[in-house]
Amino acid sequence: MKALILVGGFGTRLRPLTLSVPKPLVDFANKPMILHQIEALKSIGVTEVVLAINYQPEVMLNFLKDFEAKLEIKITCSQETEPLGTAGPLALARDKLIDESGEPFFVLNSDVISEYPLIEMIEFHKSHGGEASIMVTKVDEPSKYGVVVTEESTGKVERFVEKPKLFVGNKINAGIYLLNPSVLDRIQLRPTSIEKEIFPKIAAEGKLYAMVLLGFWMDIGQPKDYITGLRLYLDSLRKKASPKLATGTNIIGNVLVDESAKIGEGCLIGPDVAIGPGCVVESGVRLSCCTVMRGVRIKKHACISSSIIGWHSTVGQWARVENMTILGEDVHVCDEIYSNGGVVLPHKEIKSSILKPEIVM
């Protein structure tokens, strides 16, 4: 079975992290974002994944070589020379997605982290016999997104409403689709939106069905949602009683610690923390609601909350880092510094406190 992951463009909303690596390779819960999706696909028997990209293909391809071998799944790239929107890339990758088997193929949006009930989706698709299935998820604020209005009993999609001003429903497009190869005949090789042009046509013919995603879902394309997403993800690990979660007297709530990371004495870690490979957390450190990426050193007595600390950065002794501080790669926060929402580009040293949210270039 095949799958396409829409990786798209520059990931500008996740800057400064995406100034160092392309977005799909930004780590989430100690694993590159895209690996979560590739592993979910592999586990249900997908044999080939096509990445639709238009930015930094060399970096992506290098990374993929490692994982192709480890995961035993074929990974190829389909590179757009001009941005093709959310449907155009499918037309571009047509030859890779169709084979003689005529099986449907998955399409995933690379910014999404979720439960991935893909087997259930295959069953759902077979049972309704339509041309396309899309996963929808319930959200609190539907008008931030595109709402999918469906017939309650069958899940047949009636219409899409983009960012509705009045309440029409609370289910939005979760960015996970299962499509018959015939859908490709509807897509031309030009910039096309799948939500605005392709799906509405299929819905009008009564051939598009929506399945409600139970379990967590988050679009982690921007820092605030990335941090919320980590909380949801770790929560789902807790529900599955995953052995990956850390335990100990210095751990509160759900915490993920890579086995090569070191944590000192007298620390209090959690809830909702991920500590990456090679990290050193010195003694007396308090971490909550944060991600600490590969190779970071947090010095003694520091306190970090609701922040993302980028690869190979350091946070100084007694420093306090909070309120959506995002440190890019190789950023060094000096001792005793306070950062309230600082967004710091790579290769910087922070020698004076950031009292209110500010971008440091």
């Binding site: 520059f10 400064p16 971008i359």
Partner: protein
């Protein structure tokens, strides 16, 4: 002077990618030395000045960038100027003098009698031939280019005191807290090869002190010496300061313009200074037009031959338009740098801004800033491939590459 024995080598320090974060967002896409001022890469200006040095044998660029970033530039500029230009990559920081010392074998290859040292991010008239003449008459180890600045701003630089008659350097202090002098170090020097001996002296002294440290705990507590490796030698603190007043160094004063190009805002100001210089020395490089067959030009303007400018546009003063840019009908450009492949649509206005490569400026849109080169948002900077949609206004802001501005903003940094 300048007999057949005189051979001169010039060394230009170009810095590196992680060192100059102040030049972001423009340096996110291009090494700062290659950023264009008045239509030519920043490093071209000191290189062209070096051409006026009699008996110039070789130019070296020393920096931390990867060789491949400079390969193309170096081969094309060598051909164009018919002077060999080479890029040498430093493996680790050696300090401003240590870097020179690190490559002494290459620099001394042609047995030069004199060595110029220039900083790439200095904007000035580079009176190098005059400096050489003065240096030869002083018979010292080195001559420093100096300029008078306002007393209030002097402490951002190296302040020095010189003998008004002999021009000998009597005293030198780097960024002092109290006022020492209003004459400052311009970052342009000429040395005789003895400079290498002086630098080596500092290295060995430091090595000796390092072994002594095990004996003297007081030495170990001196913060200035504690963390510097022996091959890290700074020109200012380690050579000029200690050797001032010992008849080794002299000064040559310039009364022309001088600025440091540390930020994108300053690059716009310096582009203007170089355009004004072209007006004096090579006016045929500048554009002209009166709005009939060609666009109306006001003041000093550079337009690359491949750029297309609509005759109803009005350009200048202080505008620089790079290769393949397309300027539409009725566009007004003032105090700006328009980089390669930019498209500016009809009736748009750009004032005090830098528009990055391949960007697109919509119809009736307005990209402007206060023009204060010293404040962070005083010049609006659009990175590579930024789109400003029709009728949108962007004021006093910085926009990182690949963004689309579809709502107006003021005083913002858009990541």
């Amino acid at each position: 002077m300048g007999g057949s024995e005189e051979r001169v080598v010039a060394v230009i320090m170009v810095g590196g990618p992680t060192k100059g974060t102040r030049f972001r967002p423009l340096s996110l896409n291009t090494p700062k030395p290659l950023f264009p001022l008045a239509g030519q890469p920043m490093v071209n200006h000191p290189i062209s000045a070096c051409k006026r040095i009699p008996n110039l044998a070789q130019i070296y660029l020393i920096g931390f960038y990867e060789e491949r970033e400079f390969a193309l530039f170096v081969s094309s500029i060598s051909n164009e100027l018919r002077v060999p230009v080479r890029y040498l990559k430093e493996d680790k920081p050696h300090g401003s003098a240590g870097g020179l010392y690190n490559f002494r074998d290459q620099i001394m290859e042609e047995s030069p009698s004199h060595i110029f040292l220039l900083n790439c991010d200095v904007c000035c008239s580079f009176p190098l031939a005059e400096m050489l003449e003065a240096h030869i008459s002083y018979r010292g180890m080195g001559t420093i280019l100096v300029i008078e600045v306002s007393p209030e701003s002097a402490n951002q630089f190296g302040e020095l005191v010189a003998d008004p008659v002999t021009n000998e350097l009597l005293h030198y202090t780097e960024k002092p807290e109290t006022f020492v002098s209003d004459r400052i170090n311009c970052g342009v020097y000429i040395f005789t090869p003895d400079i290498f001996t002086a630098i080596q002296g500092v290295s060995s002294q430091r090595k000796d002190r390092a072994t002594l440290r095990r004996v003297s705990s007081f030495e170990a507590l001196q913060p200035a010496n504690r963390s510097l490796p022996s091959d890290f030698v700074r020109l200012d603190q380690d050579i000029l300061s200690p050797l001032a007043g010992k008849k080794q160094f002299y000064v040559y004063e310039t009364t022309d313009y001088w600025e440091q190009i540390k930020t994108p805002g300053m690059s716009l100001k310096c582009s203007g200074l170089y355009l004004a210089q072209f007006r004096r020395t090579s006016p045929d490089l500048l554009a002209s037009g009166d709005g009939t067959k060609n666009a109306a030009i006001s003041g000093n303007v550079y337009i690359h031959p491949s750029a297309k400018v609509h005759p109803t546009a009005k350009i200048g003063p202080n505008a620089s338009i790079s290769a393949n840019a397309r300027i539409g009908a009725g566009v007004r450009l003032v105090h700006c740098i328009i980089l390669d492949d930019v498209e500016i649509k009809e009736n748009a206005v750009v004032i005090h801004a830098i528009v990055g490569w391949k960007s697109s400026i919509g119809r009736w849109s307005r990209v402007q800033a206060s023009g204060d080169h010293n404040t962070k948002l005083g010049v609006t900077i659009l990175g590579e491939s930024v789109t400003v949609e029709d009728e949108v206004v962007v004021i006093n802001s910085i926009v990182l590459p690949n963004k689309t501005m579809n709502v107006s903003v003021q005083e913002e940094i858009i990541l």
